[in-house]
Subunit: 566 residues, 2 copies
């Protein structure tokens, strides 16, 4: 590739609305351009990287025995009605009508389409197991597209779907996908973790893992034990728990305290001159439209997913102010477990194990001291209803938990029969009995990987591409293109790399050397060879993008550094 | 690839609504499935072929110096308003609104997006010429999707756009694309013609060619001279023309004839016992809402494109019955040039050169004999307003014209500055003057190629894939998979081909040999090796899909037939 002819519009400055480092650098290096919010063009260099990610994903999926196909983006609304998702998917689903007024959705995911396909084509146990995948453009009308390719509305995804005859067979498929994903994210050069995730959200059952690239801009919190054996996302993360020995200390009777203007835990700490951990925090929710209350320690956060799973519910949301006032008979900020009626009471096991605490009195401007679980209120359900916190011990005993931020780049999920039953994807078993296929689904955000990699792999001057993704292996820069010796040697080297099957980018532009070096740093190709003043002696300056050292090498040495380093 | 694990759902019968041979065979061979009208899934084998077409297109576009990128399918309506196409594109343009009620179009083509991109990134003559391309899913809400992949609503296209600094530079680019297209269609194995086409429709100016795969189901008529030097589509096709010597024969005066119930040329021929060629056929149109009349010989067809171009108009449609009656003062079927007023009169040169003819009398149930051009009516415009006909002579003197049916698989087009001016894609020339880029656009119907190839290359038993597109090179079929000698030899051969880098499909299904042979014929892989009774002696049956001969060969011979034949 010769840079003079290539469209690589580098920028000195990123647009003001680009926040994340990866977003800024991908714009500045001329990899992408925004067409509309969350909708991007991949320019030639960005497209090269995108293709490399696709090829890695394809190789590893094929190696794992999955078969590639291509499903349409235009999906008839009827299919989504059959699965029951058309009305619940919300505004993220882009809907349209064709010229005959028939409704379609632009696929954000393809469970419906693939399940209907398999329902039509598979009838016998002998045709299973089967894992199908595609690499395809997906559409999700995100409420808040951000960080460039990280959260877009039109993006490239690899989605795979497996059809097995038993949960045991699915275990094998799931493991194969898990391992393929681990290889993929290793090959693209990501620092990542596979973390346990909660299966409730998609509505399936069983195991699920998210593959998280570690990065401060990540939208997810992941919880990892000291030795790394335990890793989960915050929704799912559990912690070590041992029931404390029961105390036989007598607790004085409950005591009403006037606490005007003390609504928050911080205000209460100040008012009582006490630690947050001595309070009982009581939050009112609606779960599938029924009111419930959850009590956790004052220094803890309610984990809504755990609450929802404990109740087998589908939707959870905080109760509105008016509802809280109706239920507690008091202004917002004074709810407490003692004397609260008409709601199911969920008490975190940590609270239940306390001798006593301070809680809202269900009366405006009043709290209660010496509230004793069991004596002053009776839990309907005791369990783990809080988020893990840094310093908690890992449930498997592998040390204290630490928090990281992560970008979800992949997801593997045991779906079970949720879709196969609704859309009729089944088979006749050896005994001639009709069975529903046991499904799994497996996604990778192809375009998102670019952002995650750049986020992890850059410095102040630009991108530092990992070898397998770089748009070229070596960047050849004649310092002065008008100098004949430099130009000739640069072109000779370029042709030599090409003949050896090594992708080279030749900066044949008539620009100042400083401009070319700045662009080269931005673009981030692993090896840089500058053909400068020593060209006449057959010597060049050799530098790796990832380190600062520059070496003067003979052309031969430079060539073999690149070829051996691949 | 092992067939037992692959999703290749072959069918004995095609669905009743599949008309074209290619559509039937692609369904029957398990290559594609319909999800909705004009919306198809590519199953694993179909996807392999699709990928091969893409790779050929990519190689030839890269070789021609074009740069690949990827543009979004979701296009803001504003861009289409800037180009002026949003309101005129009609119901083929799929429109949608996002969650903020902003309007988008799903791209049927990308002139707007690419021109806006280049407008933002290119500013100097030094950045041009530039040719950009993408392989991408396109959306067109066809009124009548048909023939499987041939006319779909969601389909895969390669679209390229060039930006040059002069018409001369565009000539070079256009020629490079033309040649790349010729290589592509040759490599995919198509019998095709590049034909001159009319540039008016897209609204650009200058040269344009369509690449037509010859096929009876083709929706276009192409016109080719005997030696093939002249080729054009019917819209564009011209014919040799020499002004006949003027006659000094006296023509008797016009003569009104009562012709009740003679509306059509056929009825008139019967009524007057004359050839169709002695009549003047007069059709009334509206061009950009203004009425005009066109007169051609009774045995000719009006060419609306030629009419439109002669008038420099944008839209042409036949006048409605009521309008015809108002203009002629007679029932429909009795229009004629003599005495017709209030319309511009376009007379085909063939009519103008006739001594006299029979025409409608602009009076219900009457025609006129001895109507003489010049004497009885005055043309506003004389020219070539008719379709070419078989037997006409080619305009370049290369013999009589013949008609073929063609499937348009590619199109190259000199756009000029239509988009670059509206969307501001320009550059500063060497003298610092602002210039609009001169554009070209170049499309290939990637998915349509599959249909065209199958339409040309099949027999009664199935598809006969050309070598470069076949989903595999060799199909290995153990006649009885349970026979150990057969199975072992088949697997050994399969592994040997794989090691040699030759794609092999092994039919390891436990099916009757007849079923496997039928499927093999349907699928159409170029070489078939049946491992049967002679397996123990190391002999196999070798057959090419394209011919009937079966040979008994040693494994060694069969292997080298395939490897040498590639």
């Amino acid at each position: 590739m010769k840079q003079n002819q290539l469209l690589i519009p580098t920028l000195r400055e990123a647009p003001a609305d680009a926040e994340a480092a990866s977003h800024k650098l991908m714009l500045r290096a001329g990899l992408i351009r925004q067409l509309a919010s969350g909708v991007y063009t991949y320019l030639p260099l960005g497209f090269r990287v995108l293709k490399k990610v696709q090829e890695i994903v394809r190789e590893e999926m094929d190696r794992a025995g999955a078969q590639e196909l291509l499903l349409p983006a235009m999906q008839p609304a009827e299919l989504w009605r059959e699965s029951g998702r058309y009305d619940v998917y919300g505004p993220e689903l882009i809907r349209l009508k064709d010229r005959h007024d028939r409704e379609f959705a632009l696929g954000p995911t393809h469970e419906e389409v693939i399940t209907a396909l398999v329902a039509g084509e598979v009838s016998s146990y002998r045709q299973l197991p089967l894992t199908l995948y595609q690499i395809q453009t997906k559409y999700r009308d995100e409420r808040r597209p951000r960080f460039g390719l990280l959260r877009g509305r039109e993006f490239l995804m690899k989605d795979a779907y497996s059809f097995d005859r038993s949960w045991e067979e699915l275990d094998v498929t799931y493991r194969a996908m898990y391992e393929a994903y681990s290889r993929i994210f290793t090959r693209v050069g990501l620092n990542f973790r596979a973390v346990q995730a909660d299966a409730g959200a998609i509505g399936g059952e069983g195991e699920t893992h998210e593959f998280m690239a570690l990065a401060d801009i990540g939208e997810d919190t992941i919880v990892v034990s000291e030795n790394g054996n335990y890793a989960a996302n915050l929704e799912k993360a559990e912690m070590f728990w041992e029931e404390p020995a029961a105390s036989d200390q007598e607790v004085p009777p409950m005591n009403r305290v006037h606490t005007p203007n003390a609504h928050s835990i911080d205000q209460l700490c100040a008012h009582f001159a006490a630690e947050a951990s001595v309070f009982f925090k009581t939050l009112l929710y609606k779960v599938d439209d029924r009111p419930i209350a959850v009590v956790v320690r004052g220094d803890r956060e309610v984990n809504e997913t755990k609450v929802l799973n404990a109740l087998g519910g589908e939707r959870i949301e905080l109760a509105e102010g008016a509802e809280v006032e109706r239920l507690t008979g008091a202004a917002v900020g004074f709810a407490g477990p003692a004397g609260l009626s008409g709601v199911k009471l969920l008490v975190d096991r940590e609270v239940q194990a306390m001798e006593a605490g301070i809680a809202g009195a269900n009366e405006t401007d009043y709290h209660a001291e010496n509230v004793q679980p069991g004596r002053d209120f009776a839990a309907d359900l005791v369990g783990d209803f809080r988020n893990a916190a840094e310093g908690d011990l890992s449930p498997d005993g592998s040390g204290p938990l630490k928090f990281y931020r992560g970008i979800e780049v992949g997801h593997v999920f045991k779906l079970g029969t949720k879709y196969s039953e609704k859309l009729g994807a089944g088979y006749l078993d050896e005994g001639g009995r009709r069975q529903a296929a046991i499904m799994g689904c497996y996604g990778i955000g192809i375009s998102r990987i670019l952002s995650a990699v750049v986020e992890q792999s850059h410095d102040a001057n630009g991108i530092v591409w990992p070898a397998e993704l770089a748009p070229a292996v070596v960047h050849i820069i004649p310092a002065a293109i008008k100098d004949e010796a430099q130009r000739n040697l640069a072109v000779e080297l370029y042709e030599r790399f090409r003949s050896a099957g090594i992708e080279a980018l030749l900066d044949d532009r008539d620009e100042r050397a400083g401009v070319k070096f700045k662009d080269a740093d931005l673009i981030g190709i692993p090896y840089r060879i500058v053909v400068g003043r020593e060209a006449a002696e057959g010597r060049v300056e050799f530098k790796r993008r990832a380190d600062e050292n520059k070496e003067s090498l003979s052309v031969e040495e430079a060539f073999s550094q690149v070829t051996s380093g691949r």
